[in-house]
Symmetry: C2
Subunit: 208 residues, 2 copies
């Protein structure tokens, strides 16, 4: 008499979310049909509904997962020995290594945030979490002498958040957008904000 295999169930849910993610990127949350998702997941609707009670629940599950993945990268940021290196690695990961589809999903989620209060609440939490982690990381950097001692951190925090969002939006909408020089520019500007004025100014941007 078989009992439910929890681990296998979690894997299956993840695979369904993967399939749903592909559909949502292709057609949007409201443009993709459950039938599309069933096809992509190789699964009948009857069976899919054993894992998620509704389409809404799938969207929320996907947002939750996406937020958790993003949050994870920031959680250990301040612990790294060299914060600049850790920061750059994190930015490179999110903006360059991750496929463009991640950015498209991000923008899709952001446009859903105002419509779905459930997702809105999740968004608020992750935004505050990330902002706090960035602020803490910069404070650590300053305490360790890795920035100018009197560096004003708050503008740098806000700059990073805004600029990263801008890069996500640009990459999502333009298939030819190469994020690499733009990440370099982001850190050039960040350095000019945080390092003593003696250090060389904004580096050049290699525009294609």
């Amino acid at each position: 008499m078989p009992r439910i295999d929890t681990a296998q169930r979690v894997d299956r849910k993840a695979a369904i979310l993967d399939a749903a993610e592909r559909c949502f990127v292709r057609s949007g949350f409201h443009g993709a049909s459950m039938s599309d998702i069933c096809g992509e997941a190789g699964m009948s609707p009857g069976n899919l509904y054993r894992y998620f009670p509704s389409k809404e629940a799938m969207i929320e599950g996907l947002c939750e997962r996406d937020f958790a993945e993003v949050g994870e990268g920031f959680s250990t940021l301040a612990l790294a020995p060299d914060i600049w290196t850790a920061f750059e690695a994190l930015a490179r990961f999110h903006m360059i290594e991750e496929p463009r589809e991640s950015c498209q999903l991000w923008v899709e989620i952001m446009s859903e945030v105002a419509r779905n209060p459930q997702i809105g609440t999740l968004r608020k939490k992750i935004d505050q979490f990330i902002e706090g982690k960035i602020r803490f990381a910069l404070e650590m950097a300053r305490d360790r002498g890795q920035t100018a001692p009197d560096a004003d951190l708050e503008p740098a925090v806000q700059f990073l958040i805004t600029y990263a969002d801008g890069l996500m939006l640009r990459r999502a909408r333009d298939e030819n957008f190469d994020p690499r020089p733009h990440v370099d520019l982001m850190f050039s500007i960040l350095r000019s904000m945080l390092l003593p004025p003696s250090t060389p100014a904004i580096a050049r941007l290699n525009t294609p």
Copy 2:
């Protein structure tokens, strides 16, 4: 025997787009139904279809109008006597005076861009247009001695585009986001990129 009044027809179409815009911001392009739009426009479906042949056409019409409005602001940028003032006015207009709903619509459009080739083509055009106008405005500023003579313009162009997109995305997703200090920060950074190093560095950001 009445003939068609073209001007009145254009007004009517604009009013329909206004109503549609409200619905699309509220529910998204694919979440809003034609019935919603008819209700918002105070118009029966049969009549609405005399002005737009399909929902798709309405979405395209709305994008086209939005792009045209944005483009208009940039078209005369380089002609202004003081480019810094003109730039700041334009940024304040788009980021502060315009309601948050504009930002939400912008994000909605950006997430539609990859799905609808028609809109994708429009997006490419307006992006290139804006980028060209910003570049030209900065060149004019440099020629007039309003920037450092050896200022590297390209990073500044890219910074402005990315940062403005970031502000749009943040304002769209967060109802409590106050764009004003962030626009100030944007121009502080821009000045630090374009003015000689003698001029005072990044201004403080008033965070609430």
